[in-house]
């Protein structure tokens, strides 16, 4: 139980939807708080709405008029008499505006301070903070005049990426393999950046064609104190969307893991970071390079693998810390003694270019058994809405070794029954049976060609 002022039961406003809203409601219950859900009209009857003590409708189905409006969420927090707001991931979870509005109302935000959100929210400033904290970053050079680009590129080495200094969302990024290509593409990139971002400034960055995505789970006390909760490998990706995540990252040498964890600790300390966060890195498979990607100032979708591997509740810890309580997180070793792996089950049709597949889910059966966890908002009879992302469920399995975890997850995924909509389960069956994944340590560029190959084999068989 918590000790809120006057012994009142603290109220947690859950400002999100889907599986993470269900997850936050559960964490609120765990700490003895009363969960209130801020929902769009489309989610008024969702599982999270039924599990919460109260639902406040903040706007219509469109996220732009509901979940993405900081003033509506702050208003709902006032109506609810909330002590703390948890915004989950996505939507407003990293928006300083919400954190500031809540601050003005004396309501806690389960996340970092607004200035931290600003410092890590923009790529350029995040990189600057990382460099200052001694975190390894990709070698990069800013280019003022595109006609000198080739000379700078030669000094950096190829392949490399041309990026817009003021860019974002992957726009205007070009991959070049030699100085001739760079000389040709740099002026184009500058013109495009000028048109798109109002500024033609470019920089060149070393490109790693076969790197893994490894991230470190951190928890800061807001005063410079840091706890590290191991690492996760999220390299199985399709178009930069993570599909499968695991804790710990397999096959990392002691030295590399130390670099990742120490760098993350330094960054959190430098930021006096408050609450749960994730420091993302590229870990090259062809060299010893490790480079900082970005810091995510929120709870991640894939947080359950860390929770299962270490036996902790990160969301409850976020709420406790925001309420001024001890987050009750233990100090843990760098590598957990068990392995946890997660697959994301999306309402997408993998045999139709992963087209979103919303609709009525007529029947659902989740697997049961030792070490199995399902984070979901989906039940039989649920009409999966077309307005939001396609995540239906996260299936997490914990076992004594990676081999055992892969086997257990394959069998658990096979036992999932979802009728009415197409899901990404066939993809998981493919990956969890693939020798490359079973061996461990695939790079982020592994999935796309492997999946292509699988599809061409299926076509051949069909002919």
């Amino acid at each position: 139980m918590t000790n809120a002022p006057e012994g009142k039961i603290p109220v947690v406003l859950v400002a999100n939807r889907g599986e993470i809203a269900v997850r936050i409601v559960a964490a609120a219950r765990r700490i003895g708080a009363s969960p209130v859900l801020a929902a769009s009209a489309a989610d008024a009857d969702s599982l999270a709405a039924r599990l919460a003590d109260r639902v406040i409708i903040i706007g219509p189905a469109q996220a732009g008029k509901s979940y993405l409006r900081p003033e509506y969420v702050a208003e709902a927090a006032v109506h609810a008499g909330a002590d703390v707001v948890h915004a989950g991931y996505g939507f407003l979870s990293e928006q300083p505006e919400l954190a500031e509005l809540l601050e003005a109302q004396n309501i806690a935000f389960a996340g970092p301070r607004p200035e931290t959100l600003r410092a890590v929210g923009d790529k350029t400033s995040a990189r600057r903070v990382a460099v200052a904290a001694g975190v390894p970053v990709a070698v990069a050079t800013e280019i003022d005049d595109p006609s000198f680009a080739a000379a700078l590129g030669d000094a950096l080495g190829y392949p490399l990426l041309i990026k817009a200094v003021h860019g974002g969302g992957g726009r205007g990024i070009r991959l070049v393999h030699n100085s001739a290509e760079l000389a040709e593409l740099a002026p184009q990139a500058a013109a495009e950046a000028q048109a798109a971002f109002g500024n033609g400034a470019l920089y060149l960055e070393r490109f790693y064609p076969a790197a893994r995505h490894v991230e470190v789970q951190v928890f800061g006390d807001g005063e410079g104190g840091v706890q590290v909760f191991g690492d996760r490998d999220c390299s199985v990706q399709r178009r930069h969307q993570k599909l499968i995540e695991e804790c710990p990252a397999p096959g990392l040498s002691k030295a590399r893991r130390l670099v990742l964890h120490d760098a993350s600790r330094a960054l959190v300390k430098a930021l006096r970071y408050r609450g749960a966060g994730t420091v993302e890195f590229l870990v090259d498979t062809e060299s010893d390079d490790v480079v900082f990607l970005e810091m995510n100032a929120r709870i991640q979708v894939e947080h359950p693998v860390t929770e299962e591997a270490f036996g902790i509740d990160l969301v409850a810890a976020q709420l406790r810390l925001a309420l001024g309580l001890d987050p009750q997180l233990p100090d843990v070793p760098a590598v957990p003694s068990v392995v946890a792996i997660e697959v994301r089950i999306n309402a997408e049709d993998p045999d139709n270019d992963f087209r979103p597949n919303p609709g009525l889910i007529t029947h659902v059966d989740w697997p049961r058994g030792p070490g199995i966890r399902v984070d979901t908002h989906v039940e039989s009879g649920y009409r999966f809405p077309p307005f939001y992302d396609s995540l239906m469920a996260k299936l997490i399995v914990r076992a004594c070794s990676r081999t055992a975890a892969v086997e257990a997850l394959r069998s658990a995924a096979d036992a999932v029954r979802i009728e009415g909509v197409k899901t990404t389960l066939p993809l998981h069956d493919f990956v969890l049976s693939h020798p490359d994944f079973i061996r461990g340590g695939v790079s982020t560029t592994w999935f796309a060609p492997a999946w292509e190959h699988r599809n061409s084999l299926i076509k051949e068989v069909a002919q």
């Binding site: 009209a41 406040i56 706007g59 509901s66 509506y72 006032v78």
Partner: protein, 172 residues
Amino acid sequence: MTTPSTPSWQDILDLVTQLDDGSFASATVEFRDVSVRVSRSADATAPAAPSALAPQVPQPTATVVAPPAATAVTTVPVVAAASPVAPVSTGTLVTAPIIGVFYRSPTPGAAPFVEPGATVTADTTIGIIEVMKLMNPVSAGSAGFLKEFLVADNAQIEFGQPLAVIIEDTSS
């Protein structure tokens, strides 16, 4: 919309007009599964008109459910039980376009924008909703007279919550 056995709202309006032109004091008309009673006087023996009428009329109208409604404006049949059969009006709910606090006056202590019974146009401001210190005027949305407010002054309201009922002016 009209099938041989189920009357539309327009069918009922036509019926009421016919009865009103005649010399009936009261009448009961039964369709297959819809029964309509109309009376020139407040007839205590008949069930209240809204409960006899509204739920059974298969019209574009949504049953009025407690908040929140999914759309911004919901048209519902509202029939005053005690009123003469004509004129018949359609009640329209004004629902909250945003979450916030509803105020009936421009400033504390000032006169309300409108009182129940007042004539309104679609653009008439009937109140304001404050969201994080920002004032958002709420207009009537349709012309007629404002029958009643469904929320108190100063009330915390959610998106889609019914705020007031406008009896639309159908004479024009």
